[in-house]
């Protein structure tokens, strides 16, 4: 990965906003399971918290049990993902546990040329992500 970045770093130097327009592409992601929650910065915090809570509560009552949920946060939303997980844990009176994993996500930036003679360029940049597993434990 690092060797891939080297030549592009060189290309970055010659980039000119007059000649290229930046277009960010969506991050590559896996198909979503019902117990996956991707946290974003646009939705209200309380709404996202309630959504997680609902998933966990439905597990204790109905058949569609979610014994564990995964909260994913990317970049700026890492903070919020952690916050949601901790809030869930704090509100559960000890019946919920969290386990966090971190990872690096590759993001693709496309540079659209403004002139006919140039090829579109691709820039890869890395961003950190967090995946928190919130699961039920039987309180001792």
């Amino acid at each position: 990965m690092a060797e891939n970045r080297e030549p592009r770093g060189a290309a970055e130097a010659e980039l000119d906003p007059v000649e290229y327009t930046l277009r960010k592409r969506l991050p590559h992601r896996l198909p979503r399971r019902p117990n996956d929650i991707y946290v974003n910065m646009k939705t209200d915090f309380k709404a996202q918290l309630a959504r997680c809570q609902k998933l966990l509560d439905a597990g204790s009552r109905g058949q569609n049990a979610c014994a564990e949920i995964y909260i994913h946060g990317l970049g700026l939303a890492i903070n919020r993902a952690i916050n949601i997980a901790l809030q869930l844990q704090a509100g559960s009176f000890g019946s919920l546990q969290v386990a966090a994993n971190t990872s690096t996500v590759e993001l693709v930036d496309e540079l659209e040329p403004e002139t006919d003679t140039r090829e579109p360029l691709i820039r890869i940049r890395n961003n950190s992500a967090i995946h928190i597993r919130v699961f039920r434990v039987t309180p001792k």
């Binding site: 007059v18 592409r25 969506l26 590559h28 896996l30 693709v108 040329p113 006919d116 579109p120 691709i122």
Partner: protein
Amino acid sequence: MSNAKERKHAKKMRNQPTNVTLFSGFAANRSVKHYGGGGKPAQTQKPESRSGSAQQQESKVTHHSLRDPDVNEQSSSKVTFRKKGGWKAGPEGTSQEMPKYITASTFAQARAAEISAMLRAVTQKSSNSMVFQTLPRHMRRRAMSHNVKRLPQRLREIAQKEAEKTVHQKKEHSKNKCHKARRCHKNQMLEFNRRQKKNMWLETHIWHAKRFHMVKKWGYCLGERPTVKSHRACYRAMTNHCLLQDISYYCCLELKGKEEEILKALSRMCSIETGLTFAAVHCLSGKRQGSLMLYRANQYPREMLGPVTFIWKSERSAGGPAGSRQLWIWLHPTLREEILEEIKAACQCIEPIQSTICTPNSLLTPLQEKSQTGLPDEKIVTKRKRKDDGENAKPVKKVFGNRTRDAHQPCSWSSPATGIVVSDLTMEMNRYRLIGPLSHSVLTEALKAAAVHTGEEDTEKTPHSWWIETCRNPDDVSLHHRQEAIFEMLGGITSPAEIPAGTILGLTVGDPRINLPQKRFKALPDPEKCQDNERVRQLLMEGVPVECTHSFIWNQAICQSVTENKISDQDLNRMRSELLVPGSQLVLGPQESKIPILLIHQPGRVTGEDRRGWGSGWDVLLPKGWGMAFWIPFIYRGARVGGLKEGLVHSQYKRSPNIPGDFPDCPAGVLFAEEQAKNLLEKYKRRPPAKRPNYVKLGTLAPFCCPWGQLTRDWESREQTQGESCVASSPNSEVGDSGNGEGPRAAAPDKTLQFSAEEPREPEDMDTECQGQAGTQPVRDQDAALGGLCVVRERKLLKQLSSWCGPSSGGSWVPRRAPGRGQQDLTRETCLSILSRFPRALVWVSLSLLHKGSPEPYTMICVPTKEDLLHLSQDRFYCGPQESKHSDPFKSKLLKQKKEKRRRRQTASLEGQAGEEPAAGHEALTQGLWSGPLPTVTSHCSRLLLGFVTQGDFSMALGCGEALGFVSLTGLLDILSRQPARERGLVLLRPPASLQYRFARIAVEV
């Protein structure tokens, strides 16, 4: 007694026989004297002890009674009322005493009149419902409406009459054919072919017609919206699932020839300033789809023709003469005529070609052609004769392709000078659009790459010789395998937004009808396939390699053979039924059709900060004739189908202009606006004046059209006068301050206030050019003024405007792009230099509302005053100011006109039929609409007008109102330079039928 109560009573008594209402006791003796005519006993039986006014009324009534039954009834009931009141109060008590004697003859006569009136009321049906509808529910029976015998005996006669009446109103079926004959396949095909002569049908027409509201538009019959309630469901399909659209009505123009020649010819029709052109490297190689705006040759930035997308055929290493290329230009049908003419002119293609491969009709089998041309004759001939005909002629076939075109009309032109061949491939291909993240799953589930022939079966004759040929070539086979591998890889990518925009992938697939599932289900991405390996990564980064974009769909001859050798549904089903194990997979082996297709990636939302990649998807190009064979399999994989309306929603949420409505500077756009205005005006006039908004009072000058020409002209003249006044008022300070760039911005707000205050008091200078009523005429006026109007599409300028529009500073955490080297500050000089280049220009903007409000088309975009902004900064939830009600200057005129009309009618009724037609001197005023030339549109209301919204609605994606529209460039620069940096880009929106302004933020997205 209250007026309303009286009226209510009058309504109640309206259907009563007139003499029932009065107690004729006391008056009976008197009535002998009056009783002359015998028609109206009620009036004659009135007691004389009534007050003077009542008597007067009575005399008046008798005077008019013959002519005016309405008045008569009114007054009679009034009289009754008075009577009743009197009885209660008691001053007229004497009248209520029992009579001393009755004259038998008059009494009987009066009763007879009553009875006859009652009988009349009973027999006459007052409501406009059918007889069986008047029956109580428990007496109704099934099929009463067409079987008279199901009705009770007493009603049968009336029902019979009614049924006869409706039969006359019904459409006449062809008399010589019974229902069964009409439904017979051959006759139905004939009928279908006849019906699609005027307006073309898409191949999915019958499917759509059963489920959609169909409209006739642009020479096609198109599905507008589904009949089921599905607005939100379609939105969800676009965001989370997959929405399918048939856009086969898009036109395709093909250019063949030398690459340099084509580029040279077309380069005059587009400009590098609006973005990439036909010569862009990645498009030219055939790797990506490109999109651009076409202009008349060398006319940029005026005379726009329309937006198009294009794809080049990739150059294969082996095959074809060097340098000869093929280019497809896809465009909307409304733009076709103009662009085709212009391209023909640019390429100097004048010689029509009659018999080439490109002419579709010459390729039809002679039998087909016969059935096509012989159609009118066959319709006239009798049944028996056609049977004779049928013996030597083959059964009528479905005709694919362009059916409206005359067989002898050329659709292909060549040029001796440049060697370019332009051909019109309209309706030669089907184009389906899949939108949404699940489109990958739908595609990979529904389509399977064609099986490669191994060579053993070659002994038996198959119609797919082209595929056998291809399979002999090992290079082609390996290419096919590579394409297949890439296609399978798509199934593991969860959203089309991850793929490079405009990627093209060619493929040859097997018959999709073979592996049709038993039931409809929703295709979901397979987690097995979603392994994040190196190959997927490469696909996402590099896109599809150039070789893999090759498809046989570019070859007309192969497409033709594929269309002709399609196994019919009937045969396929027969083969299926003959399977040994019912329901097992049908294996056709080499007989199975191979269909070349082309997949084109469509980028979703690329501009702006939020909802990136929304609405991205794939377009599938198929050879003609295969439409339904692919349509049903897609639907069986869980795609939801949308119509034109869903297309509009898609473009609105994507914030891209809709063709042709959002191109006011191209002829198709002008025509569209004109039609729209006409329709809306008609719809408006259909409502009674009290039940429709009075746009004059609401201060809306043009509720059904956007007078762009006048708007830009007004802003131009404003700018000029302002510049003069600037110089006149403070020449010294202006010159001194202009250097640092801070001076004009500070000085400007005072000027606005001054302006907006004095402007309405100015005598409204009527624009002499602009004549006609506010409904439809201004559009034509705009057409005339189109020469000066243009829409800014220069990317550099748009980028600059975009950076100026946003709030440049503030506590917002949103990471903003740092201004680059090319960005300039917003100063008076830069504004002036821009305006000198684009004096009358419009800018495409998107608006999102701050709080409440949902904009609609023709909503006005206005400039907020300083107080409004102040109010908003103090109160965060301030909704917005209100426009004060305007006076209606046309009201007196309208009243006068009405009075005159009434007078004329009266005289006419007196003199007979003399003065029927109204005087020609008066133009017909419509109440609630501005008539005559429009005054200055910008300063008609309390807030200055900046532009109009062309698409607007509550956005389900944003959760608040969202609008797209055009503003005047002059006006935009004006307000941007005035507003303080923190509140920059705030405007007011006001719908045409409301007085309430709402705050919105303006953004220019590139």
